[in-house]
Symmetry: C2
Subunit: 152 residues, 2 copies
DNA sequence: TTCAGATAGATGCAATTGCATCTATATAGA
DNA sequence: TCTATATAGATGCAATTGCATCTATCTGAA
């Protein structure tokens, strides 16, 4: 199997756009959250996963898989979220090392408030710029860059 | 003019993919650079811009425009690059506040070594996963999310 | 000219991240 | 059962980032 060491011009261009656009969009969303006096995007990611998980909660290592954050970042982010009473840590019965993380009512409320800003940003920055068909094409192309690639 | 506050499912999916894929790819490239004992991606971005700019160099504020890094980050990154002799700072004649940044020979060499790793990563992570035509389509779609949007 | 912004870049300090390592529990094999 | 290894999560310390502000120079209007 041949592995090329140098990327094609098309690959470089797609890469450059991906880097630049994602940086730009993240920054705009972070700014919008700050303007609203809301916590950073990373908090949303965690609260979102926990809200989806429901009453059963999630183990920290499951959050790591889902969010792709580093272990030590999750550990500390959870400490901050707990100190704000947005989550609670529950010792888990059958594994003395672990804990289950559950979102609190206040956590759900914070997530909801963040979504009004975050969702609006997505609508403006992405939804308003491409028609549905092209959004789907974009998602499909990006899915194939995922590891492992999305099958669709 | 109607501004929707809630994003469509297609917009949310494209957004989620964009966030996840860009995070994943950046992390893989950073890991590859670390494995090679090379500096982080941000150094490449700056060295690349300076190499493109040639002997004339660039002002820090031009680097800020091109890389989208925050002003204080550029200021400190340049200090680190200078302490490694990868760039040099030259006072600029017609503006006593400013300076021109020029890449050194050692800087070019470092950039070249980084590119062997970075370029290979792009080839593997992006180039090998989509054919040229789809890479171009991806770049075009991303270009329309840019601010201001790319015209092509 | 003069002075009130505006612009270029640096920096003190607090918060976050990254790295390496640590503790505690779990698990598998001798 | 005992021990070596693996896994879950936390943490000390250094480096980086973010925020606010600072200094210095420049520009334009009175």
């Amino acid at each position: 199997m041949i592995e090329k060491a140098s990327p094609s011009p098309a690959a470089i261009k797609a890469w450059a756009r991906l880097m630049r656009v994602s940086r730009q969009l993240v920054e705009k969303v972070e700014d919008a959250l700050k303007d609203g006096g809301l916590p950073p995007l990373a908090w949303y990611d965690v609260l979102h996963e926990l809200a989806e998980a429901g009453e059963g909660g999630l183990r920290p290592f499951q959050l790591i898989e889902r969010t792709l954050f580093a272990q030590y970042n999750v550990s500390r982010l959870l400490a901050r979220l707990e100190s704000e009473s947005l989550i609670e840590k529950i010792p888990v019965a059958d594994d003395g090392r672990g804990q289950t993380i559950r979102i609190t009512g206040k956590g759900r409320e914070t997530r909801r408030r963040m979504w009004t800003v975050y969702g609006r940003s997505i609508a403006e920055l992405v939804g308003a710029r491409l028609p549905a068909e092209e959004l789907e094409m974009l998602a499909a192309l990006l899915g194939r860059l995922r590891h492992p690639p999305a099958m669709e």
